[in-house]
């Protein structure tokens, strides 16, 4: 934390709102997201299915159709609000400043072109400088330089037999290889930020571990900040320095990983942690009563209050402010200094 405060964040999300126009009416999927991402930081974005993790990622990247998803707020990168950019302007950021990998790696690769064709195109888009350098160094043709760079990028993510791999199609490789390939294509433009949306959820546990190690290495080597979206708290604990907990379109708590697991503040985070099976624990699993709120008709005040055991009268009325404690940022009336009821409830 202390180091971070000196650094400037590479990505700053402020009051990001995303509203979807659907047949059921307007749904506010993101209801004011705030977080900052620092260089080389790995931030976990955790939460239940449907809480808006993926939408947060796709809103930052401007990957959702404008007719369907209206975005407001700020996504600042080098003093530019990415939300103000047109899709065309945004393209100069995608892959080069900010990039993304997805849950299902095989489905994320175009099935009718070889892996080689696809990565070569990205090399042409993002590595123009390197192509000229390799050409002059080796005195080879542009095509050969592109081939070399593509192969080198694949080798960097731990893929072997790259010549054969480049001739293969997506359906001919394993999920782990596909995710490595996707990582290679996503980071070949040396982005400052990589968003990994459930990037290991569809993989076997052993493959998962390899991919996590790869992401960690990339982040350290290239100073890439990673937003790691997951519903798996174990992975978040393993990989990330910071954890942001999302609930129903809001970030309810942000803290350094160890701190969050040791001392969760938000009632939702506490419930979430108690719902994780642990071998050392003798008591049974607890669950959070109720279900995630219906976004067509979200609860007033704090969106968690209908499921919260410590809910107070004001939770129903007022949206809780973001409170900064020593090490946490938490969005809950329990920690609101101006709240007199809070003192007894903290426990």
């Amino acid at each position: 934390m202390s180091v971070k405060q000196k650094e400037k964040p590479i990505l700053e999300v402020k009051d990001l709102v995303a509203e979807f126009t659907t047949a059921a009416g307007r749904l506010r999927i993101l209801d004011g997201i705030d977080f900052s991402l620092f260089p080389a930081e790995i931030l976990a974005l955790v939460g239940e299915t449907g809480c808006g993790k993926s939408v947060t990622a796709k809103s930052i990247m401007n990957l959702l159709a404008e007719q369907v998803c209206k975005r407001r707020g700020k996504v600042m990168m080098d003093g530019v609000n990415l939300l103000d950019l047109s899709k065309k302007q945004m393209r100069s950021y995608l892959g080069r400043r900010i990039s993304m990998i997805f849950q299902n790696p095989i489905a994320s690769i175009n099935p009718v072109f070889t892996l080689g064709e696809q990565i070569r195109r990205l090399v042409r888009i993002h590595m123009a400088g390197e192509i000229t350098r390799v050409k002059s160094e080796l005195g080879c043709t542009t095509a050969a330089a592109i081939d070399r760079l593509a192969a080198a990028n694949l080798e960097k993510v731990g893929l072997t037999d790259v010549d054969q791999l480049m001739r293969a199609y997506a359906h001919q490789i394993s999920g782990g290889m596909a995710q490595r390939y996707r990582i290679a294509t996503a980071v070949l433009g040396n982005p400052d930020v990589l968003i990994a949306d459930e990037a290991t959820s569809a993989l076997d546990v052993t493959v998962q571990a390899h991919i996590l190690r790869l992401l960690k290495r990339l982040s350290a080597e290239k100073n890439t900040a990673i937003i790691f979206i997951t519903h798996d708290l174990g992975i978040a604990a393993q990989l990330c320095q910071q954890v942001a907990v999302m609930y129903s379109g809001r970030i309810v708590e942000v803290a350094p990983t160890a701190e969050l697991f040791k001392n969760p503040l938000h009632p939702y985070t506490r419930g979430l942690l108690k719902a994780v099976p642990q071998l050392s624990r003798k008591t049974g699993l607890e669950h959070i009563p109720g279900t995630i709120p219906d976004l067509r008709n979200p609860p007033s005040g704090c969106r968690f209050h209908p499921r919260c055991r410590q809910a107070m009268e004001r939770c129903r009325r007022l949206r809780p402010p973001l409170v900064e404690t020593k090490s946490h940022q938490v969005c809950c009336h329990l920690y609101d200094a101006g709240n007199k009821e809070a003192a007894w409830a903290k426990s």
Partner: protein, 336 residues
């Protein structure tokens, strides 16, 4: 690829076998005396009897069928009951005429339909999209006989731009016939260097081809639009976009190739549809192809011709779908 083609060929032989049985059986089950038809209405009973023996109609049906099959293997399709001409010779003359307009129609429906669908998808929810949608719906839903008559009314009666019917102008018929190299009139005329002849044929073909192309054009335009829009929602498109690939490449290269497979399939079906539609179109435009011939033979129960036409249409259908499947494999490497 080779095992696939062999399988298809075996399937084709099997299909043709079934077709011969069906059509042969049907032609015998229908009311009407084949021998009487062969000799004509004014024939005396003994002439009919003689014809019956000559045609082998006194034998049981299965013997007749086996005889027919034996001759078929030698390329002999029998004698037309109506014209008394060898069916194989007529077929060789008439089939290319129909294939020529069908293939031209197919070409037009792809050459126009695909770009229409692609542009509509690219310019989704604009007036271009609506226009393509409307043209596509109209093209698919207009009955072909109605469209053909409408075209005659507008382009012959009112505007006078195109001839009413026929394959060539009467003046042209007095010329030396073209050497039959490919048997496709336009190509033969081109090979012979007779551009005037070629232009005259193209002029006559125009309205029949437009009539035939209408439904496939609408199908291809609408399907390529919807297929492309669906593909553009796919994960791999979003992933490529997130990696910084531009929209034009995403759409016209990454998207389009994925969207082609269903469009190719519908083209295979269109081929069958158009072959059937030659029955209407050739009748309306008095175009002497296989459809015209088929209708005349149906009305006179000219079963040797009907069996031959059925076999040929079945074979063309299987072959064109085999070609389509080869193309689909080339477009989409996942198809096994």
């Amino acid at each position: 690829m080779l095992p696939f083609l062999i399988r298809r060929l075996a399937g084709l032989v099997f299909l043709l076998l079934i077709l011969t049985m069906l059509v042969f059986g049907l032609s015998r089950a229908l009311p009407g005396d084949v021998a009487a038809m062969y000799v004509g209405l004014k024939a005396k009973p003994e002439q009919i009897q003689k014809a019956r023996l000559e045609l082998g109609l006194d034998k049981p049906v299965h013997v007749q069928y086996l005889r027919y099959m034996g001759r078929l293997l030698k390329g002999d399709l029998g004698i037309s009951l109506r014209t008394h001409r060898p069916v194989a010779r007529d077929l060789k003359e008439k089939l290319p005429l129909s294939l020529e307009i069908v293939l031209l129609a197919l070409l037009i429906s792809i050459a126009l339909g695909l770009p229409m669908g692609v542009v509509a998808a690219f310019k989704r929810d604009t007036w271009i999209d609506s226009a393509v949608n409307m043209i596509g719906s109209a093209a698919v839903s207009l009955p072909i006989f109605f469209l053909a008559l409408l075209l005659q009314l507008v382009f012959f009666n009112w505007l006078g731009w195109f001839p009413l019917q026929g394959r060539i102008s009467t003046m042209m018929e007095f010329r030396d016939p073209l050497p039959a190299v490919t048997r496709f009139g336009l190509i033969d005329a081109l090979l012979a260097g007779d551009l005037e002849y070629m232009a005259d044929m193209a002029w006559h073909m125009f309205l029949p081809v437009v009539s035939l192309a209408s439904i496939p054009l609408g199908l291809v335009a609408r399907l390529s639009r919807s297929s492309l829009l669906e593909v553009m929602q796919a994960d791999y498109i979003m992933a490529a976009r997130a990696s910084g690939v531009g929209e034009t490449v995403l759409f016209f290269r990454y998207g389009l190739r994925n969207a082609l497979s269903p469009v190719l399939s519908i083209m295979g079906l269109s081929m069958a549809l158009m072959l059937l539609n030659t029955f209407y179109v050739e009748q309306i435009f008095n175009y002497p192809g296989i459809g015209y011939w088929a209708l005349a033979s149906i009305f006179s129960l000219d079963y040797p011709v009907l069996v031959a036409i059925t076999l040929v249409l079945g074979a063309i259908y299987v072959l064109s779908n085999t070609i389509i499947d080869v193309l689909r494999r080339w477009v989409d490497p996942r198809i096994k």
